[in-house]
């Protein structure tokens, strides 16, 4: 499937380049590994092993693309050789025209598969949304974004739950919202959403019809614990004394003397100074469990960013697809346009993006953009190493 491109600042590279042999060597190793695994499974001595099965499906997903690539490549080469034949030249050129885009597509796919996966690619995710500059309009926009992501989750049939949501005074926007998306791998799809989103439109609060620019910030975190584990699994991942737990309660005798409903919990992670408060649930126990989930996710994301920063310093090249540039995307309502500034890609359909239905279109483009940059970097490293 191909999408029409508007207002874009680079054109599709229709010319085809073969994948670098060093990268292909990786694919060959993987396919050999798959073959060995197949033999082992067919012997069937070990019984059903879940780890073996996941490894198998992971490997075969790469090798399938690799086989597809090799097939398409050889037929492409054949066609190319036919070009020299005067009688078949025209027909071959026509054929090439149709099969080239498919080949380019498969090449991109294979490149993405061969790159080392994101460390948290298989994790469920947590989204945090907060209004930026722009007053009430920013709060309304943050709420619109929240609806976009929940809509996106439901259109993918992902389970999600609101961990907390604080409405603004007039009730039309949010001051903060935290959503947990329980689908494993949702982090990998949504991680590009981290950053500042900018909106340009005539706010519903504006009486004179002037266009206003506002922002909202989105943070995407990986959810570290398994949902199958008991709900205090996150708490157990911290050493004793690493986190200070404060329950916010009035002084007094407590116990049977009072029956207040105060259930707020505040966690302070002492080494990093990160503070997480949670108060939405009536149960202190649940508030604490939620706060620990968020704390752990924030720490993991922070660690990953530090790691990525170090990696980037090692390279001369400064390009990165996940750096926190000041704004990542603009939603321009008057022009019915959404532009992602990292890959320079625009979509002219604000409504179906904001409902979450067509968000995949943007995310696909960002994934492609990232794998292009990553494969470029990887090749440079490999060439340096040779």
């Amino acid at each position: 499937m191909r999408f029409q491109r508007f207002n874009s600042d680079f054109t599709e590279p229709e010319e085809f380049k073969e994948i670098h042999p060093t990268l292909l060597k990786r694919a060959e190793i993987l396919s050999k590994e798959l073959h060995e695994l197949e033999v082992e499974i067919s012997k069937g001595t070990g019984g059903f092993d879940i780890n073996q099965q996941t490894k198998f499906s992971n490997l075969s997903s790469v090798v399938d693309v690799y086989d597809d690539y090799s097939k398409k490549l050889s037929s492409y080469k054949e066609l190319q050789s036919l070009l020299e034949d005067e009688s078949l030249k025209e027909e071959a050129a026509l054929e090439i025209e149709t099969c080239l885009p498919v080949l380019v597509n498969v090449t991109e796919k294979l490149k993405a598969k061969l790159l080392p996966p994101h460390p948290f690619a298989d994790k469920p995710s947590i989204l945090e949304l907060r209004p930026g500059v722009g007053g009430v309009e920013a709060m309304i926009f943050a709420n619109d974004l929240l609806n976009m992501y929940t809509g996106y989750a439901s259109s993918n049939r992902w389970k999600y739950s609101l961990i907390s949501k604080t409405l603004n005074q007039s009730g039309n926007g949010i001051l903060e919202a935290i959503v947990s998306i329980e689908e494993p791998g949702s982090y990998d799809r949504l991680r590009f959403e981290s950053g500042v989103h900018r909106v340009q439109r005539i706010p519903e609060t504006e009486s004179k019809g002037r266009t206003q620019t506002s922002t909202a910030a989105v943070v995407v975190l990986p959810q570290m614990s398994d949902k199958l584990l008991p709900e205090d699994a996150d708490e157990r991942s911290f050493a004793q004394g690493e986190v200070r737990i404060d329950v916010m309660r009035a002084s007094g005798k407590g116990g049977q003397h009072v029956n207040t409903t105060e259930s707020a919990v505040r966690l302070t992670h002492i080494p990093s100074g990160i503070v997480v408060s949670m108060q939405d649930e009536r149960s202190q126990h649940k508030n604490k469990a939620k706060a620990f989930t968020i704390l752990r996710a924030r720490l993991a994301e922070r660690e990953r960013q530090v790691h990525e920063e170090e990696e980037r310093k090692k390279r001369t090249d400064q390009v990165s697809s996940t750096d926190r540039s000041d704004k990542i995307r603009t939603y321009n309502f008057p022009q019915n346009r959404i532009t992602d500034h990292r890959c320079g890609y625009s979509v002219h359909d604000v409504d179906s993006i904001m409902s979450g239905e067509k968000l995949d279109q943007l995310i696909d483009e960002l994934h492609k953009h990232e794998s292009q940059i990553k494969s470029k970097n990887l090749l440079e490293e490999l060439e340096k190493g040779l």
Binding site: V258, N259, D280, Q284, H285, K286
Partner: protein
Amino acid sequence: MVRIPTNLILRARKKSSLLPLLLKPCKTIDSAEQELRWIQNELPQNQWLKACYLRSNNVPLQYILGSQPFGDLNIKCKKDVLIPRWETEEYTLKLVDQLRSIKESLKIIDICTGTGCIPLLLGSKLKNSSVKGIDVSEKAILLSNENKVLNSIPNVEFRSGDVFDANIVQEKYDIVVSNPPYISADDFKSSSTEISVRLYEPKLALVGGNEFYTALVNNVLLSTDAEGFLFEIGYTHQYKHTRNLLNLNQWNTCLYFDSAGNARAIIGWKKGSKMQILENIR
């Protein structure tokens, strides 16, 4: 009684016409808003006004909503039975953590069980144990059985019984847990007991003292041959009183503080027994 400033009431009314009603029990706008949210989430709209009105008369929110979360259980609450407190939830979860490490199946007994919250949480977390809950109030026994069905926990049973009856239990148990009434008669009349507790929660479950700890030790702890116990307390002198009832050549005790920093329980174990692990509860 603290007077609520007029401007606070006006500010609350701007947000919602129901909010000023909740200011009286909640004092601050933030906590009033939180309670309003819970009321609106859990009750149908035609009951909101009535709920807020009841709350403004200091009826406990748990009675209005009809429940209180306890660990991952939802405990039904009714008039005439004490509402489970967060301190109780906290130490019960810590107790679970310790008892989990004992592999053999345990027999646990809870005296003055009320809603049945302690035995139900223990039973739901320690699947191979068998737990008994005893209360003197028939209403409490009815409610705790209801809670057992609501949370579908099979390994817990409830029956009525009076802790002052020397023959209250015949069987043997490994550990005794209790949250007996411990507020002194003077404190119950003073402002140190919240008005909503005083007006709406059962006095039977609240006012008591050392006589309960004496009865717990003599009629339950010693006659069941238990090796460990945990009794909730309200004052440190109740710790001293209970400790003095024990043969200290056999028993070790410690004073447990809740996370608000109040002395909340006496924990005891027979020296060298499997219940020695109770010393890890902090």
